[in-house]
């Protein structure tokens, strides 16, 4: 045996030694670990490594990420999943589940009392300070019942197992199943990577739990509709679990929205869509309670919807969890749950918390101060942004400072005593070792009780308190397997519901359309950038002809015009005549393609593109997603010789490669998509960007002073050289070139082709305010007519001023068209803002 068996565990049950999840005695695994033990001991190291790599690959491909708290956006890290599952004993799990369910019932009742009769404080069960001394008791939610009557529908409880083998609770998180999406993805990955073992254990499926979640959420709908509209309200792309919001919304089939996608009218909530405001019935909420309504709750919130509290209070929208549930998250509440359970249910709380004292009570403060080193001190109200303080680990000065602070504001602290956590095997970089475990469990309201998800999100190798809390660490997660007794697993059932046939017409959030529009524009811009740079680099070598510098200069001017590279002093790039190795011209082309630290460059464009994909992912096919994912990996795959050593040949190869990928994006994303509104906005983005880029390039390349090399470069970048040669052989003249790339509607790269497609598209959009032609439509029709009626021979004659005018007018109309689109169809996706409360005594009205 090469693996876990080589380590002898401490004798289980001995005081102080951690409980061993795997070994019962040296060389004897616990009964429920037998199959896992076989799996680990019968495989060679290489096989286990293969499994680890398969898991890793899938996580990378799916871009399962996790944003580290407090680090700026864009620094999301890959999710970590251990390739060894945490198998739990079925009977022990059932007993834990019993305790978890009771705990959720108690918390629900505490919330009900807190926002209702407040018997708990009136009878001294909870100290008054626990209610009033912090901001998690939402006064605006007091005295009224949310739809459905329950105040806790979804809950997470973090547990760990102490040396005595008992589970204890580290924290309660009534946050809308934070982590359940990761647990689901862990299951999909590991269930596939360890298919045989998974079948052998007949692992309990998670889908039934999520079906229950859907049911309870649907039950909150205030309207009697066949299909209530449910949205998942996310705190946005910067949230630490933004990945999970998108993932869960896809899995549960709910629209993913942010606060500014919603609006309240007459105490009802609506989604802003292309076709107008559409009523929202239920919100699965991943925005912290206090940030949900900038009018009634925290004024500084940018994540909420003004009027949400009123809508909920009027019973016009269901929320899961209802507003105010965050009261159950205050760490200090743990210390009083046993009393609350006794008072409310006349029962003992079966599943204990770790020993917890709230320092706001004098007796508790004195108790923990008698031996502060034995305790971990945490903020009493919100522990999600702070590591606990262990006085035992501080030097005497720091310790004294902390204790002084504690004595000056004792109510702000709790003291907890942590057990040594149980240990389980981990496969870590080619070898087996053991690490401490904690498990996040998930619960959902069901009838008058709760249902526990048969599984969970285990966190290995770190402090016990919840997987989302650590500022610094991103420890491995583990999938939790609960073996079942059933012989054959039933497949999860689809809801028995007749669906009405539909074509298109699904109401899409305006923001989504804004996102896909820009996604397509970035694809096209990246395409053009790569072509311009490639054309420039191809003209760098000694073999190119003597007019090459002129063409290079024009290409560089175009790149500057497109803001890919900054214009140097005087906004003109340096003369392109000096084009040897290491010349300024060469450096500029390389910067445009490979400088990841500058805005506007190709890598920066691809980064923007990638950021958008996360939020439109639910609208993309699996193939399209894969192609987009590969595109995002392109920069990493460019050889150093091209990126850093400016090797022209390698750089051209890398650009060829990115162009192939971009073509694949266009192919899979745009061509395989139902011709609905999403496709329309994608294609409009592509057309607007392509048309605009062509116009910019024409302006830089054409008269005065146009030579053969300019026209060649233009046709090459416009991918129209072959067509031209087929028509006109090799005689390059201005008017035919301009006709081909500007006004020839049969050339898919020409401006006229783009404009003609836009005319078609804009007619298919819903018309705001029932006007005959929208402003955007009028504008693009005008541009179309200009191009079709232009006399190109004449425009290209003389000093070229006629052509310049035509190009400038066209560019202006196209940009205005894009603005019209945005004002007409995206504008209500803009954010609301808070007015400052009136400053006390300002001016008298009469005096102004």
């Amino acid at each position: 045996m090469t693996t876990a068996a080589s380590r002898s565990p401490g004798a289980p049950g001995t005081a102080g030694a951690p409980y061993d999840e795997f070994w019962l005695a040296p060389d004897t695994p616990r009964e429920h670990q037998t199959l896992l033990h076989e799996h680990l001991s019968q495989r060679k190291k290489e096989e286990l490594e293969q499994i680890r790599h398969a898991v890793r690959r899938r996580i990378t491909e799916q871009e399962v990420t996790f944003n580290i708290l407090g680090v700026p956006e864009g620094t999301d890290r890959p999710w970590q999943l251990d390739s060894v599952p945490l198998v739990v004993d079925r009977a022990e799990w059932a007993e834990l589940g019993h305790g978890l369910r009771q705990r959720a019932r108690v918390i629900n009742a505490v919330l009900d009392d807190c926002y209702g009769a407040q018997k708990l404080i009136k009878n001294g069960v909870l100290p008054a300070g626990l209610f009033y001394g912090h901001s998690h008791f939402l006064r605006a939610c007091q005295g009224w019942q949310p739809i459905g009557g329950e105040r806790l529908l979804l809950h997470c409880i973090d547990v760990g197992r102490g040396p005595d083998g008992h589970f204890r609770v580290y924290s309660d998180r009534p946050s809308g199943l934070t982590g359940a999406g990761y647990a689901l993805e862990n299951r999909l990955v590991l269930g596939r990577a360890l298919a045989d073992l998974f079948r052998g254990y007949r692992v309990e499926r998670l889908s039934g739990f999520f079906q229950r979640v859907r049911t309870i959420i649907a039950s909150l709908a205030p309207r009697q509709a066949d299909e209530p509209r449910v949205v998942l309200m996310s705190a946005g792309r910067g949230d630490e679990s933004a990945f999970e919001h998108a993932y869960l919304s896809r899995y549960l089939g709910y629209e993913l929205v942010e606060g500014h996608d919603l609006t309240c009218r007459s105490d009802k909530v609506f989604l802003k869509t292309l076709t107008g405001l559409q009523p929202v019935d239920v919100i699965l909420r991943r925005v912290p309670d206090a940030l949900c309504d900038p009018l009634m709750l925290r004024e500084d919130s940018f994540q909420g919807v003004a009027g949400l509290v009123a809508a909920a209070r009027q019973g016009n929208v269901g929320l899961a969890n209802p507003l105010g549930a965050s009261f159950a998250e205050i760490p200090a509440l743990k210390a009083y749950l046993p009393q609350a359970c006794q008072f409310l249910f006349n029962q003992q709380l079966d599943l204990e918390s770790v020993p917890t004292f709230w320092c706001g009570e004098e007796a508790s403060l004195e108790h923990v101060l008698a031996d502060p080193d034995a305790w971990s001190f945490k903020p009493a109200w919100d522990d999600r942004r702070q590591e606990p303080t262990r006085t035992a680990l501080l030097d005497s000065k720091a310790k004294q400072e902390f204790l002084d602070h504690l004595r000056s504001r004792p109510a702000d602290f709790i003291a907890e005593k942590w057990d040594e956590l149980s240990v389980a095997p981990l496969w870590d970089d080619g070898k087996m070792r053991t690490g401490p475990m904690s498990v996040r469990t998930f619960l959902c309201r069901s009838g008058d009780d709760y249902e526990v998800m048969p599984g969970g999100l285990a966190r290995a190798d770190a402090a016990p308190d919840g997987i989302f809390l650590s500022v610094l660490a991103n420890p491995a997660s583990k999938d939790v397997w609960v073996p079942s007794v059933e012989e054959e697993q039933r497949l999860p059932q689809m809801p028995d519901k007749r669906l009405t046939l539909r074509r298109g017409g699904v109401d899409l959030p305006s923001r989504l359309l804004d996102d896909v529009y820009w996604l397509a524009r970035y694809v096209e811009r990246a395409n053009m950038t790569a072509r311009l740079v490639r054309a420039g680099l191809e003209r760098m070598g000694l073999e190119s002809d003597s007019d090459a510098p002129d063409a290079r200069a024009a290409l560089l001017r175009t790149l500057v015009k497109l803001d890919v590279i900054p214009g140097l002093a005087g906004s003109e790039p340096p003369p392109a005549s000096e084009a040897g190795r290491g010349s300024p011209t060469e450096a500029l082309f390389f910067a445009a393609a490979f400088d990841a630290n500058r805005p506007g460059t190709l890598p920066a464009q691809l980064r923007n593109l990638h950021n958008l994909t996360l939020y439109v992912r639910s609208r993309l096919s699996r193939d399209a997603w894969h192609v987009l994912h590969r595109l995002s990996q392109w920069f990493g795959s460019v050889p150093v010789s091209a990126k850093e050593q400016n090797h022209v040949g390698d750089a051209i190869n890398a650009l060829d490669e990115v162009l192939v990928m971009l073509a694949a994006v266009s192919g899979t994303t745009m061509d395989n998509m139902v011709r609905g509104h999403v496709w329309l906005f994608l294609d409009m983005g592509r057309r607007v960007e392509r048309g605009s880029l062509m116009l910019s390039m024409l302006q830089q390349m054409l008269p005065p002073g146009t030579t053969r090399v300019h026209m060649e470069a233009l046709l090459e970048v416009a991918d129209s050289l072959l067509t031209y040669r087929a028509r006109y052989l090799s005689s390059l003249r201005v008017a035919p070139v301009v006709d081909l790339v500007l006004t020839d509607e049969s050339n898919p790269r020409s401006v006229a082709f783009q404009v003609s497609a836009l005319v078609e598209h804009v007619r298919k959009l819903p018309r705001p305010d029932a006007v005959v032609r929208s402003r955007a439509e009028r504008r693009i029709v005008a541009l179309h007519a200009n191009l079709l009626t232009a006399d190109i021979e004449q425009a290209c004659g003389g000093d070229g001023s006629g052509l310049r005018e035509l190009l400038e007018d066209s560019q202006r109309l196209l940009w205005q068209f894009s603005d019209d689109l945005s004002h007409t169809w995206f504008s209500h996706a803009h954010r609301e803002r808070n007015l400052a409360a009136p400053v006390w005594i300002d001016q008298d009205l009469e005096a102004t």
Partner: protein, 291 residues
Amino acid sequence: MTTYRIRHSTRYEYELPVTQAHHLAHLRPRGFDSQRVGATKIETKPASSHSSRVIDYFGNESDQLEVITTHDAFEVTMFSEVEVLPRPLAENPPADPTSWDEVITRLETSVDLVSLREFCFDSPLVRAHPSLRKYAEPTFAPGRPLIDAVQELNHRIFTEFKYEPAATDITTPLAQVLREKRGVCQDFAHLAVGCLRSLGLAARYVSGYLETVPPEGQKPLAGADASHAWASVLLPNHGWLDFDPTNDLLPSERHITVAWGRDFSDVSPLKGVVLGGGKHRLAVGVDVEAA
């Protein structure tokens, strides 16, 4: 008894059009044992598309106003008729010897007072601070009757702080007010509330109006012709005692109460969330007329 007619207007002027607005108003005077509220109405320009009246957590009446017509300016006007009765506690302060430290003990131990302890804790704009306690301490000698000590605190804030309208706004921290010894009525009300809470007493913030025209032979009070604010302290044997540190007096017939809460943020006369608007200008006008 005095009857007042009140008109309170607030006008926002926006740089850019506002396409949608939600406002929350705490403008309607509150009825209680020394104040009876007659006909009251709220008018807006443009008219609201939807409005609802809600009794808030502290028992104040609030209005939620929604406007969906595009507008460049928004004006809210409240008209009300209010009868204010003389307050016995203010007219004849009781000679109650109960000391402030005794009151704290009762607050901490009496089951009946537990929900009033709400007003002993920090609130969004008023956080207990050692400097507040230090400021209050010379007045709150151990064993001193609470009612005496509060009146002295009221007097000290009045004499030691300068009333200076432009010096502060609602975002000015209490510590700065204490350091610079100047501010306006809401600063002094917050300061008084903060001092009392730092000691462990229950104190709340009251918003309202002052009579505009002084009776024959009396000087006009500071804060007249505008919204006003003062503080209130819980006397367990008598109820809440209002005191006005801006004017060094105990409010009676010349103070009209609109709302109370933990601090300004609970009872802000008007706040709003708008779509569009750009920068905005704000003007407030108040008329209080004794009938």
